[in-house]
Structure formats: C-alpha cells, structure tokens
Symmetry: C2
Subunit: 474 residues, 2 copies
C-alpha cells in the first residue's frame, strides 16, 4: 500500500517532553500502542502514523502547559477531537504528542437572545443539538461523522446543510486558541460582525491544527424551522439532475439540502436499506421555513424537476416519513461499505462551479469505469461539491495505484474547471501534492504565515504545506 | 484640530520611485496638490495626509510594475478605490504612492448559472447592480457610499443588507492580489466552498490594503427577490425597538434589512426630507422573498411590533411607495449634515451582541447629552451594529476633544460588552488605539502576519497595527 514517508524525528525532545508530561498528567498520558494508533487514524491509503504519546486534556490551562512543554523541546503537537477527519489530519509523521480534547465537552453558554453559544472543543455536533433541543435552536453544520466542534472548525467542516447555512467559516463567531508559544488568543468577540483588523477567526478555521489548538468556540445558532419538508426525485441522467439543481438555485428557492446520489449509490442504498428507489441519479432535498413557505418551495421544485424529466416526485412534511424518505441518504456511507465487503472506502472530495458539475461528475464516472473501480458518488450539489468513495482492496497494490490515479485525475479536473481539489475534507496529508497546482504562489503565502506563527513547526507538522519535503505523501 | 503624527519618511526612495513612475506613466501620474489631497481623504478628525504621487492604473500588470518599483525603493503604497472609507484608510502618514484603481472598472464575467461574477476592483457596487439588472441578479452589499468593490473587500464592508446576506467576507469567492513583492496571488477559485488550506480570501478581506493590492474579485450574486416589502414602525423607547428586533431575529423572520433611527435622527430626517414621522426611535424594515413569503414576514413582524408597543405600522410592496417609505433612511447621512450647517459629521461605529444593544445605545445617548454634543444614531440593528455621527465644529478644539472622548467611551463600552470597536468601518488610523484592548495578543499575531508578508512595511503603512509607534494617532 501507499507508504507514508516520515519526517525527521526529534527523538531526544520527544523523550524529554513525554517524561515531563507523564509526571504532570500521570494516567492521563497514554503511550499504549492501541491508544496511539487510534489517534493516528486516517481514511486515506496513507499508513497510520501514531503519535508517541496521547494526553487527555481537561482545560485550556492544561493545554497551555502541554504546548509550552512541547515548544520548549520542539516536539510536534497534534490536536485531536474525534479523529473523524479524512485526509490524515491526525497522523503524526514526525511523531510527537496528540492532545485529545474529547473530555473538554461542556456547553459553556447558550445565549438564546443572541442566537449564539459558547462551547469547549470536544463537544460534538450531535451533543450540542441534543443540548439545544429545548431552546428551539440548532447548529446546522453536519459533516457525516458526529465530529467534535473544535475539529470541525480546525478543518472548516461543512456538510449537507451548507447550501443554506454555509460552512464552519460562516458559523463561528470567535475562537480561543492556544498558540504555538503557549499564548492564548481570542480571534474576535461575540459581535455578529467585525471590521477590527485581520480575520484571525477565518485564518484559524481550516488551518487543521497547524497554527494552534482551539480551546473554545463561539458558534452562531439557527432557529429550528417551523416546518421541514423532504423530497426525493430521480432523473434519467446526471446532466438532468444537475440542470434541475442549477435551476433551483438560480430560481432562488432557499433549499436547506440538495443532495445527488448517482446510479451506483442508489443501487448500494436499495440493497443496504432494503428500499425500492429507481436506480437512477437521484436528488434528495429538504426545505426549511414556515409551513406556507415550505409548501411553496416544494411545489416550485416539483415544477423544476418535471421540466428536466424528473421521475416520481415523493415528498412529505411528517417527521417519520421524512426520515424514511431520506434513509438512503442517511445510510449512504454504510451502504457503500457493504457494497464490497472487506474493501476500505477511500473518501475524496472536490468542488467545482455548479455549471461544470454535470461534466465533472460524468467524466469522473468514465474514469471509474476505465480504471475498473467500484466508486459511488454522492454530492452536496447545491454547492458543486461531491464525494467519490473508492472501494479498495487494501491488499491489492494495483487497485490502490488505480485509486490514487483516479483521485489525481479528479483533482486536476476540478482545478482545471476553476474549482478546488477539496471542498470540505481538507488537505491534511492526502491533498498536499495538489495544493500547488491549485493555489500557485498562494502556497508560499500560507508557508510565510505558518513560519511567522509557528517558526519551529511544532503544530501538526507535515500537514497542508508538506513543510518538510519528506512529508509529501503522494 | 487633532493632529495626525507622521511616520518616518523615506525621502530618497520616494523621490527616486516617483521619478521612475513618472517616466513610465507620464500624465497618469499626478503630483498636483488637489489630486494628492483628494487621495488622502478622511472623515475622522485626523488631518489629511496626502500621498506624494497618485498613479492611475489601468491593469494588474501595471500594478505589478508599480509595486515592484515601490518595493525596490521601499516606498509606501496606498491602494485607492473611491476614497469613501471612514477611518483614514487612504491617508499617507509616511507619504508614498497612491494607486488609484478607479479606471479598472470592467465587469469581466457574469456567470449567471453559478450566481457569480468577476470584476475589476474599480467597479462600484451601483455600477455592478446597474450592469446586472437584465440578468435578474444583484450584489447585496451596500455600504452607504457607492464604493468600489476592491475597496469594499479591502475594508470588509457591510451595510443594511448584512443581516440577511452577510458582509463582504461572505460574498467574495476569490481575489487576485498583487503582493508586496509584486507576485500575483489568487486566494481561491470559483468553487462555492473550499477546504484547500489557509483562508487567504478572508485574510485579504479587511486587511485594508496592508497586505497587497486587490486587482480582481469573484463575487457571489443573489437572485433579485420576486417580491420586496418595506415597513416602518416607531416605538416609545430604544429598548422597545431593540426588543422587537431581538424577537424578530429569534423568531427566524428572514428580514433583509432592519434599521434603527433614534429620536434625533428622526427629527433630522423629518426636517431634511420634509416628512411627518413620529420623532421616536423607529425601525425601518425590508422583507425579500416570494409574494406569499413577504406577506407572511410582514404580518409576523407587525405582530411582534404590536407586542412591544409599536406605533403606526406602515408597509407596502409597491416600489415607489417603498422608496418613499424608506426615504428618511436613504437620506440619513445628508439629513445629519443638514442638522448643523458648517459642522463636519464624524462617523464612528461599534457592534455588540444584540442582547446588549439597547443598553449600549442608551448609555451612548446619555454620554452624548453629558458631553453636550449633537450626534444622531443609526443602526444596522439586526446585527447589533450602530453608527454615531458626531456633528463637530472643526474649529472648536473643545468639541473635537469631547467627540474623541465620546468615541473612546463608546469603544470601551462595546468591547466590555463582548463586542467590537468597529463592526464595519474598519480600523484604518482612527481605531488603532482601541485594537489592543479588544484583541489582546491577537494584535501580535496580526503583526507577525504583516511582518511575514510585507517585511518592509510598504503596503499602506500606519494602518490597523500602527506599525510604527509614531503612527498611533489617538
């Protein structure tokens, strides 16, 4: 399998820092193989690169201490939430200390009047929404996994609701961050808008732990809509489905979700969830608003779907039926895994201008056929963002090589269409090699920022920038 | 009047670079006093600090040349759009070369299917919307002035529509920027979402020309709503008005605009625009959507207003009546100027969590009374953002001092309420002194970024960070 090259290790520093941290944290520092491997999790073809130690932090003050100790001995730090990132973000190519913040899971404030809340970084999105249920508010960002909010900010996470509610960049008001020298920085305030200097909030969002450790987040909240309607409609081709999506967005229908599942994904879903949907490209939609507005939106979409040859158009506003209707989408990941038992699903994503979406999906399906791979496609198509899950037998070198080629072609295609090699999964290790062709001299600017803020390169080294040449994984 | 201290000037460098530029640009380089003063425009109490020369650029390539010449001779560069910024952003405390991009005013692409467009930096917001009219699309960000889009991105501009459509940070997909060393960087792509490394787009937005010169922008567009309704309602107190705002936002009514005008502002508006509104705190609203949705929103707001003792509730969906109804708001700036002929209106803004808004406005009104100043208040209250326009006799040192004290207190109050000393006007020169108390160590991070990207401090020096101690203006 594709090997992850390692970076230079600072053996002495790691030994010293680990010993000091052991004294300070006792049983809350683990060097057990299984704990370390669980913290070097990756869903790419890159090998697991466990950290040397994992510290389970309980407070920002503790994180300051850990960072200062690691900084003094120039030891890598890898912030860790739930470990559900997809591109090797939590791998430790130069070893070092994983700071696990999952125990920092308190909701500190809910300011209902301001539609915001303050949380610790280990709070997960589902936990937060459970906590908020009584208030009539919710937090809309929903990557597939029940990720930690700190990790979601660090990776600029997104998901099915982004077409309506934006991504993490749009839903974080303020972050508290421990910087590489142990200083604590608040990136903004609780104000809804600010023009007070450089946008440190957005700089930290998506920095993947390479600039600091997030210890607190102020998040925007939304009112739970009065009414929600769900709809499903199949199309004869990906083209027709994408044209319906474009018309929906252009017509100004404020869809909350609009998801595309391709033929293979529908086949996988029917098999896994015992459904009887047409095995054709299918759109799953959700509309939020008042009862009247939701009815109006649903009807308007129905007309658009018909215009583009949409088949049976099923919809409902009743909660249980909604969940049933969307079951294929909710179970998509598991249905993919079940499609080829024993294989691993390597997830990749790109994002293109919506006008190029049909073309990008179509050419990618042709590539998949050419390489003889099994790889369903699911997309947050309202944003032009889609995922390919390549089912790979990890003992078969040829298959891994073919998957790598597929991903390389997909990235090049998205970039050539004025899109990006990652719409929401991030760079981590897996997309380092593609960033220069997308960002050009922008990579040098990122590098200059990284160098200025973290001159010793201790914060999650080997991510995004492949700072050390040897970290270049592809 | 409050004097602007100057920074050290690089006389030799300025003379040399100006001579080279003169040869290269001929009549498109101006050293006339009036042109220079027009390019050192400020609306604060800070004196005009004209650049040494103004170059009227026609292309990104020309800007690269100018930047390279200035970089070689370490000469300050001040990017200039329409010069409508409010906090001394275009002043030249260390002299140097103003790059006027107003002639770079072409709309390069309108991608209707993708709801985006590509423009040169000198295109103004009104020009763009005029251009877009036939397409059914519009660009929603509307600071008071008809500002250039490059300047609006550089200052993270905002306005009355922000409560619904966000600020410049939410409506720019991609920027092309000439960096301080003359390299051209594209910050992103035309994809709606990206997770490809650090968010250089948001870093540039709000950097006020201190990191580079914007030469091209890709902007998100919105569909012109099918229906628009406008409404006006007065309240017995600022408290009642603010409570109605909070309820409106919490109830999830997707107001497109919700503006507060205080008693004095209503008095000024009645006098200037010959209207007969109650001289009480008044909310001006706009609702966007389908005809049914707009009717529903208007009705829902009417009920909330009644709950908080709202007076006559006037509303309409007809365009001409809408404009009439909103006339007081549209003419607010001019009505303020007319309130005290001969005085200058010094505009300042803060932004606080909406739950603190009534308190913040109320205490500020008390300060205004205490200082014996004339200063109406207008607010984009859906975001907790409001403006105080202090009418000052610029020949009266005591009045200027009182205005400075008022602003200092207002900033401290907003910061103490977990808000910001500027919601949309930016830091420029006017708010440099307040940034450390708001951002703490965050200012050091900004400084490190500035140093890394612009080590010779040639890009708009003396702004945001007061990089040179002597640039500290307050």
């Amino acid at each position: 399998m594709g090997l992850a090259r390692t970076m230079d290790r600072n053996e002495d520093g790691i030994a010293t820092a680990t010993a000091i941290l052991k004294q300070r944290f006792g049983e809350r520092l683990s060097v057990s193989q299984s704990v370390r491997e669980q913290h070097g999790h990756t869903t790419t073809w890159i090998a697991n690169q466990p950290p040397d130690a994992v510290v389970f932090a309980h407070s920002a003050d503790e994180i300051v201490d850990i960072v200062k100790i690691c900084a003094e001995h120039k030891v890598p730090i890898i912030p860790f939430g739930t470990g559900t990132s997809l591109e090797g973000h939590v791998n430790a190519p130069a070893g070092g200390v994983s700071i696990d913040v999952s125990a920092m899971n308190k909701v500190l404030q809910v300011n209902a009047q301001d539609l915001d809340c303050v949380v610790q970084p280990g709070v997960t999105r589902k936990q937060l929404n459970e906590f908020l249920r009584e208030t009539g508010l919710f937090f809309p960002i929903d990557p597939g996994a029940d990720a930690s909010l700190g990790g979601m900010a660090a990776t600029r996470a997104s998901g099915t609701n982004a077409v309506r509610y934006g991504t993490m960049k749009d839903n974080v008001l303020n972050l508290t961050v421990v910087m590489p020298d142990g200083r604590i920085v608040r990136t903004a305030s609780r104000a809804k808008k600010t023009a007070a200097g450089y946008d440190l909030t957005r700089l930290m969002i998506g920095s993947e732990g390479t600039l600091g450790v997030i210890t607190e987040l102020t998040l925007r909240l939304q009112g739970i809509p009065e009414a929600i309607s769900a709809a499903v409609c199949s199309f004869e081709s990906v083209d027709d489905a994408c044209n319906a999506v474009m018309a929906t967005i252009q017509y100004g229908i404020p869809v909350a979700r609009i998801e595309l599942l391709d033929e293979l994904q529908m086949k996988a879903s029917n098999a896994y969830s015992k459904l009887d949907y047409d095995e054709k490209p299918t759109l799953f939609l959700e509309f939020h608003g008042s009862a009247a507005s939701v009815a109006e939106q649903t009807e308007a979409f129905g007309e658009i779907a018909a215009e583009f040859g949409g088949g049976t158009f099923r919809w409902t506003t009743r909660e249980e039926e909604r969940l049933n209707l969307w079951q294929a989408r909710h179970d998509a990941y598991w249905s993919v895994v079940a499609l080829r038992p024993g294989a691993r699903a390597l997830a990749t994503d790109v994002c293109v201008p919506i006008s190029r979406l049909a073309e990008c999906v179509g050419e990618t399906q042709a590539d998949i056929a050419e390489f003889g791979l099994v790889a369903p496609i699911v997309g947050h198509v309202g944003d032009g963002n889609f995922h390919v899950s390549v089912l790979v037998d990890m003992d078969n070198g040829n298959e891994i090589a073919a998957a790598e080629k597929l991903v390389a072609r997909l990235n090049a295609r998205a970039i050539s269409m004025d899109g990006t090699c990652t719409g929401e999964h991030g760079v981590g290790q897996g997309k380092i090699a593609y960033l220069p062709s997308e960002m050009g001299a922008g990579v040098d600017i990122m590098r200059a920022i990284k160098q200025a803020i973290d001159p010793d390169n201790i914060m999650n080294p080997g991510k995004i920038l492949g700072y050390n040449k040897q970290a270049d994984m592809v």
